[in-house]
Structure formats: C-alpha cells, structure tokens
Symmetry: C2
C-alpha cells in the first residue's frame, strides 16, 4: 500500500506528513464510551472482533488520519499465558495469578498463540476488511520488559520494586521470562501480519525506568529479538516496525541499532535533535506533548508548526503525540491537530 | 565547614566520595515511623522543630552519612500562601484552596516568609545546633514549576492537564505565578542560610514532563532566578546549590548554565556521560537506581562500584540515589550502600 504513512516509515517520498495518534480510538470519544458500555467491560471489548473493529474505525470517521491502529490491549499475551487479566475501574489492569515465585516463571511457557490469541488476528482481519484499503492498519505488542513488569508486579506499579528486585537478584530467571515473552510476541505479530497488518509497533511503556545498561540488557535486547523474528516482507509488502520506549530519548543511538525502521519519540526531546542523532538510520514518529491539546486552536496550530518546522523538506517523519491522547481531551481539538498537520506545507 | 560533601560540590579535593541519600530520613526507617506516629500527622511532624530535628538526625545515627538534610515538605511555600495543605494517607498532598481561576493567581502574593515559615528556619536552627558540626546541613525548596503543578492541580496529578492547560493558554499568568513563587523561594532559602544551612537543593520533581522549550521557559528560568537571588556567600562560607530535575538528563547543558554548583542526576543517564557533557562546569550528584536496594548486598556493592568507577580519581561527585529511597527498602541495605561507597578507593 503506497501510503504516506508507510512511505514515511521507509524514508521514501511522501506527499505530506502523515499523522496518526496513540490511543486515537479511546475514551476522549463519546462514541467509544458508548461502544464500551455496550461491550460491558474493557476486556470484552478487546475480545469481540466486531466491537474492536467498530472502535478502531471511529476516529477515522471523524478525522483525516493516515493510519488505523488495532484496538486491543498490551496485556493480551500474559492473559493468554494464564495470568488472568482483569480491569478494575480507575485502577488499571490487574492479574489474578501474577508471577510471585521463581517457580511461577519456570512453569511459564509459550502459549498456543494461533489458538489462545485467535481473537486478535480475527479482529485484524475484520478491521482490514472494513477499512477497504482506505489507510494502512497498524498491529502491535507490548515489549517483553513492559509485559514482565505487569506480570511480576501483578498490575500497575509505583516503584516497580518486585520486578526490579527480580532483575537484580535473579537475572537468569528474568532473561528466561523475557525470552518466552519475546518468542510469544514474534508469533503474535506474525499472526497479525498474516491477518493483514501493514505495519507494527512495539510499545515499551516502562523501558524508561531502567538505567542505560539494564535497558540494553533487559528491554532493548528482547525488542531486537522480536524485530529479527518477524516477517518484515510479506506477500510483496514491506512491514515497517516502530519501537517506542517512553522516556527512552537518551538511548536513540542504541535503539536505532535494533533493526527497527522507526523510533517513536516522547515530547521531552526536540525532533531536530533526534533527527541529527539517528535520522540517517531510521524514521521518527512523534512528538507533540499531548497536553497541548488542552489549549486553544491557535496554540495547537503554533505548536504543531513548531514540531513540523524541525523536519521541513525531508521525509522520514510520522506525526504523532509523544504519548497517548488523554481522556480529558476535547475531540474538537483532535480535529484541529490533524488538520494543522495536513495543512502544513512541508516543501514550501 | 571543610567537609568532603561541600568540597565535592565545589569541585575541590576530597578524601573520599561523600554520600547522602534523598529521603534518608523517611518511612523505610522504623524509628521514623514511630516519630511520625507521635506527631499525629505528616504536617505536624514538619511543623514541630523538635520532631523535625529528631527525624533529620535518625539516619545519621545508623549510617555513616556525609550530610544531613532538613526534614520538611516541598509544599510549605504554597501552604504559607494560604492554599491549605493537607495529606490524605496513601493519596499524597492536597490543597483545600487550589488555584482554580486566573483571579486566584492574581490574588496571590508573596507571604511574609520570616513569619509564616518561621517554623522551617526554627527547625534548621535546632538541627544545626544538634548536629554539632558533625556533617553539613542541606536546606531545600521545591522548584517554582513543581510547586505550581500542585497548586493548580490541587494535589498530585496523572496528566497535569490543568497546569499544562494554564501554561499553554495563559502563559502570562503562569509566569506571574512562577515569579511570586521564585521570589518567595529566595526569601525562604535565605532564611534557611541565616539559620545555618550549609548547602541548598532545589527539587524540580515535575520539570521532566515538559518539553525542552517549556522546561527552559517555565522551570529552569525560575530556578536560575532563585540561584541568582540567594546568598551564595554567607559569613565566610560558600553555600553550594544543587538543582535536581527528575527526568531532566536531556537538558544538562542548559541546567549547567543556571549558575548552580551541582546537578542532581536520575539513574537513566550514565554518570560518565553526564561528566563528559557538563563535568567541567558543575559537580554531579547521583545516581544509583533506588531499586538496586531491593537486591542482595553483593549486587548492591557491584552496582555502587559501577557508578563510582565512572568518576574514579576525580572530584566533583556526591554519591546519591537517582531518586528518593523507597519505603519498602530494608534499612540493612542502606547500610550496605553507605559502607560500599566509603570503602571504595577512589584513587587506587
């Protein structure tokens, strides 16, 4: 699919800077909240390919976005491994059977992804069919390190004391766990590709709380393993892969060596500086502060232009926020954002 | 006071690498929890100079630390401005009268620091007297930006939507607020110096959630104003100032230009790299990941040495964690840490 989004990731010519937004299908949209109510709970929404398709397409109805992203959760893999994912309103994800002991890790094995996670591939197929080639579809997984933090902590965490304790005390068990997760993620993403995903993201939400050495050893290494294990070329298409480590802007040079096509950036780094450091090797995605969307249309346009000016005349940039759009955002401001990106003349 | 701690901050010769630990007087110590129980609540503990002194000295009884830090809260300034600080167990700080409107900001003025915050100077005097010159005493303030986040959000926040909205929509009011806070912080720190503080820290807990431009305009600028406004030389002593922006390692070059003597580092940057970037201009403080303290003594010693090896043979380094010690930490491991730093031979 010769879209601007795919072309930008592959550093080919584009007609304009493409944009999609992390969590573009989400709680800031009233129609999303309606569908979610219909589904009952969050996990049922993820597990119904029809409803997942419905919410995936919702933002495309409203905004001129350049890509759709599969609606799912990053914790589907540990759920398929038997940890019992559930959600408590206002508290985030939890596991009923977290990894409490080294034995729990020893007992863990790669699930039958084609079976246990069939609902995800199914959702990809349904979305793909309903998209009718309008825009490319992004598939995704959580990074092994990020999945491991939830599996060991039993949910969200403040200090990540359990998972970091495990990492420092029993690095071998930690590597064992990360290997199983990486192997599972490879199958998972390959199934998404076979079902029709045109591009892939690996979300490393919690890599940024490691130090440089631990990041390389426990997070990046396993994302690199995934990148090496997936079908980058499938049925004549090149499937670009984007790695996003929140809080990882200090390590762009290392991330660029992972074999990925693009790096997602949070807003703490200037796009210009990221381009200078790794722009010859990879494409870049990002990086407007999501809280700019709390401001007036005038401010939004100014801030969008400030980002785009840093990449003027060049390809290799996909516009996005530096983190997911927040539930408090006014959907009108999302429209201002998308239109501002598209009305910017990159070549003038 | 010719201590290793002060000398390291001023990049003078030291006999060994000095160490203190953020939140060294805190919940990980059973004796702290006892005193806090005695005080009733957290704010009463801060407001009693006797009890504040008691908890300040507790870690020095157990560990061979090179500095004491005033026990207080970063939110004493907004409390003195009439916002009504209170603490809800497990939820962090709250304000009963947060800044909800632009009028609220217009009505704000610099409090009579000598009067409203006399309890802090009083605590400094009492601690200083009880320290008997054993180690230097560190005074501190929260950064204007960090104080403003709590004042506008009404407490802790997840997305900081209100304060960022204010910053983007009404930058003039934001600057007005930050100016009052900076002016107040100058008086506050000068009073701490007069009461006996030997060194100062400015804690910028939330600067790291800004982008580079906003960080310079709304956080660093006001820390620089404070640095310029305080008595750096008092009664024959030089009072070094350390700035700590959590998540600010991308901006070390800018921070080094603030006029500070030292920069506090979180653990996401290698000490070696920070030294290469700004080590000729400022001293550095940090930067072990606090979660290393969940590991075995052997791992702690290895990780301490890994940090210290990066500064071998040079002065200008104060050992610390990259963030506060966590309540879950075993005090025995704090001892392992302090002893590991002191038994390291920096010159061999």
């Amino acid at each position: 699919m010769a879209s601007d989004y795919i072309n930008a990731l592959l550093k080919k010519e584009v007609t304009r800077t493409p944009i999609w937004v992390m969590r573009q299908a989400g709680r800031y949209l009233p129609e999303y909240r309606e569908t979610r109510k219909k589904a009952g709970d969050f996990l049922s929404l993820c597990k119904s390919s029809e409803l997942a398709c419905e919410v995936t397409l919702q933002p495309l109805e409203r905004f001129d976005l350049d890509a759709a992203i599969l609606f799912s959760d990053i914790l589907t893999i540990p759920d398929a491994m038997g940890l019992g994912l559930y959600f408590v309103e206002g508290e985030g994800p939890k596991f009923s059977k977290p990894l409490n002991t080294l034995d729990d890790i020893d007992r863990l094995s790669k699930p039958d992804v084609g079976n246990e996670l069939a609902y995800v591939s199914e959702a990809v197929s349904v979305i793909k069919k309903n998209l009718k080639g309008r825009v490319p579809l992004i598939g995704f997984t959580g990074s092994p390190w990020t999945l491991a933090t939830y599996m060991v902590e039993g949910g969200s965490s403040k200090n990540f004391s359990k998972v970091k304790g495990l990492m420092f005390e029993n690095p071998n068990h930690m590597h064992q766990l990360l290997n199983v997760l990486a192997d599972t993620a490879i199958d998972y993403l390959n199934n998404q590709i076979e079902a029709g995903a045109d591009s892939l993201m690996i979300f490393d939400t919690w890599g940024g709380l490691l130090n440089k050495q631990s990041y390389e050893d426990f997070s990046l290494r396993y994302m690199s393993k995934i990148v090496a294990g997936i079908h980058r070329h499938y049925e004549g298409k090149t499937i670009p892969v984007t790695l996003f480590t929140k809080g990882g802007s200090a390590w762009l040079e290392q991330i660029a060596l992972s074999g990925c096509d693009a790096i997602g950036l949070d807003w703490t780094i200037e796009l210009r500086e990221a381009e200078r450091r790794v722009g010859s090797q990879v494409a870049l995605q990002g990086n407007l502060d999501p809280s700019v969307l709390y401001a007036t249309p005038e401010v939004i346009v100014t801030e969008v232009n400030r980002v785009l000016d840093q990449f003027k005349g060049k390809t290799g940039h996909v516009f996005n926020l530096g983190h997911g759009i927040t539930p408090e955002t006014n959907p009108e401001n999302m429209k201002v954002l998308v239109d501002a990106v598209h009305s910017y003349n990159k070549f003038k």
